[in-house]
């Protein structure tokens, strides 16, 4: 189990700082790769930080600890925002991130469970994540373990049919230990989600599939903490989905809400502006 850094008294402040760390490192790493997913990593920054610095039980010294909570990204393209957090909590030395996207590096745009400690399952094929979570949650139940499995999905991912196969099966198998999180940042590669392929009404869709639905501001750390602290028991019968209202590119004014920044590469001046805004951000 990880110890939260006690030097910082206020957990919210800590999570805020770690979300900044995730964003700043995302900018540094993408600059190295010369292409990457800014917008959809920034929309998840507070969610990542809240999970790893407040919610989840894990052990960086024993990364395959059987009873750990699991975290899987259906939207694996946000991995660049998670790697810095995994390094920060101690799964591997921060210097290893300097190999990001180099030939043979463990770190690519999408995460690999066999190459990176702290990655519970690889991803990249959007729509797989929730199904993986169904399997992990069934495994937990068979082993009488009370860990939870958190699956982060994108709003574009809601367009994948397999998500709804998984949603149906999770309710059918009564997997109260499975928690879906939708990073509802409202953009996909080609444009704004509702203009590309409408996914609404999202809340009603999940409810009709038999899920417990919670809506929350995905950048409000107090609200995120409150939401995660009040999840139903892991041994309950109904899976929960948290629909997080988020902003693509959050934290960098010229990126916010823009689908153009889903995959991009910042020039030198823009990097400077973006870093200043993130560092100065509240």
């Amino acid at each position: 189990m990880t110890e939260v850094n006690t030097d910082i008294k206020n957990k919210v402040e800590l999570i805020k700082e770690k979300a900044k760390l995730s964003r700043l490192e995302t900018i540094r790493l993408i600059a190295k790769a010369k292409s990457g997913h800014y917008g959809s990593s920034f929309s998840s920054s507070e969610i990542f930080a809240t999970l790893y610095y407040h919610v989840m039980n894990y052990d960086p010294e024993n990364h395959r600890w059987k009873s750990r909570d699991r975290f899987v990204m259906g939207k694996g393209h946000s991995a660049v925002g998670v790697y810095p957090i995994l390094a920060d909590v101690g799964f591997f030395p921060k210097e290893e991130l300097d190999t990001y996207t180099d030939l043979g590096s463990p770190f690519g745009d999408h995460p690999d469970m066999n190459k990176i400690k702290g990655i519970d399952f690889g991803s990249g094929s959007i729509g797989h994540g929730l199904s993986v979570g169904v399997g992990m949650s069934l495994g937990a139940r068979l082993d009488n373990e009370d860990y939870r499995t958190f699956i982060l999905m994108g709003d574009g991912e809601m367009q994948e049919g397999q998500v709804w196969e998984a949603a149906m099966s999770a309710a059918n198998f009564k997997l109260g230990n499975l928690i879906g999180i939708v990073d509802n940042n409202k953009v996909t590669v080609d444009g704004h989600t509702h203009e590309m392929m409408n996914i609404e009404p999202l809340k009603e869709k999940w409810e009709s599939f038999g899920w417990n639905v919670i809506e929350v501001d995905g950048h409000n750390i107090e609200k995120l903490i409150e939401t995660f602290d009040n999840l139903p028991q892991a041994n309950s019968d109904i899976p929960t989905v948290i629909i997080a209202d988020t902003i693509a590119g959050k934290g960098v004014s010229f990126m916010e809400h823009g689908y153009e920044w889903h995959v991009a590469n910042l020039g030198e001046d823009d990097i400077k502006r973006a870093v200043e805004e993130i560092e100065g951000g509240q």
């Binding site: 066999n114 399997g135 069934l138 099966s169």
Partner: protein, 330 residues
């Protein structure tokens, strides 16, 4: 009408008596291993009975999951279960497993090298007049192109049971088993001695004029064809190449050197299947021999009852013997 207790072995007329699928031994085998191996779990997509998983499902309901008609979810969930230390056996028709769920198998099972065992049943044209949607003549090709994947096409229920047991006890990594409808006659007789080991071909008959390398239900037909060829003065070696990947290279090269002619027989497209795999071995060796692939010649099957189809496509004993004679110009 729901029952027809007579089974016409020649025409394979459809009827409801699943007990005739005696070669679908996965459920029985897993039930026998279940107490010793609590990590064994199984799942199907609304086909637990036709695939033969039912004996396990019935005896261990808490370890069996019916995913309904959702194969992609099932395969990916199996991968999630395997990541928690389970050994999931996933079984449905091959057309919906090795073909429909191919991307999920590639990305979620093969790439992370997880201990998921996939059992595609009713392969080839076993579904007869159900048509191309229910046929699987591409699944060997698809699964053997996936790194980390072992591909096995057992000749019968004994072979399937033996290699399932090996896969639970000692084998690591993902496996795609390819089995037919289960109503075929067996090749092997149940015995205390293990007769089928993953990766080791079985030479079931020796001969000096020709080798037939077959897999799955074509092994029995190849043996019968060899009898007919013997009457015509052609002595045929028959190899059961149940493991297509990794292939028993030594068995292939010995056959080429010692008999000088190799004919592959499979209920699969010759492009990418057993024949292609054998050809790859031969072309990269220093051995030269006559060589022919027999199976489906990059075509989809006609509609028809299985018996008529196997005859039409020369995948029965007579057909294989005629192809062999033509191949040898005899």
């Amino acid at each position: 009408m729901t029952t027809q207790n007579t089974f016409h072995k020649d025409t394979w007329e459809l009827y409801k008596g699943l007990e005739m699928s005696k070669q679908l031994t996965s459920g029985k085998t897993l039930a026998a291993l279940a107490d010793e191996y609590p990590e064994v779990v199984a799942m199907s997509a609304d086909l637990s009975k036709p695939t033969g998983l039912w004996p396990f499902a019935k005896e261990y309901p808490e370890r069996f999951f019916n995913f309904g008609l959702a194969e992609k979810n099932m395969v990916t969930a199996a991968a999630g279960l395997a990541s928690t230390g389970k050994i999931p056996f996933v079984s449905t028709y091959a057309s919906f497993l090795g073909v429909l769920a191919a991307e999920n198998i590639r990305t979620a099972v093969a790439y992370p090298n997880l201990n998921v065992r996939l059992i595609g049943t009713h392969t080839g044209i076993a579904m007869g007049f159900y048509g191309t949607s229910h046929h699987a003549t591409e699944d060997i090709s698809i699964t053997r192109a996936m790194a980390n994947m072992t591909v096995i096409s057992p000749a019968d229920g004994v072979a399937l049971a033996e290699m399932i047991e090996e896969s639970v006890r000692t084998y690591d990594g993902p496996i795609y088993f390819r089995v037919s409808r289960g109503r075929e006659e067996p090749v092997y007789t149940e015995s205390k001695e293990v007769q089928n080991k993953i990766g080791k071909a079985n030479i079931l008959r020796d001969g000096s004029d020709l080798t037939i390398i077959a897999c799955g239900i074509e092994v029995l037909q190849a043996l019968r064809a060899a009898d007919q060829l013997s009457e015509a003065g052609i002595e045929t070696r028959v190899i059961d190449m149940h493991t297509i990947k990794p292939m028993d290279v030594e068995a292939v090269l010995n056959a080429a050197e010692e008999t000088g002619a190799v004919l592959t027989v499979e209920e699969h497209n010759i492009q990418g299947g057993l024949g292609s795999a054998v050809a790859e071995v031969l072309m990269e060796s220093n051995v030269s021999c006559k060589f022919k692939r027999h199976g489906f010649y990059d075509e989809n099957s006609l509609i028809g009852k299985p018996y008529h189809l196997y005859k039409h496509y020369k995948l029965d004993a007579e057909g294989i013997a005629s192809v062999a004679k033509e191949f040898l110009n005899k």
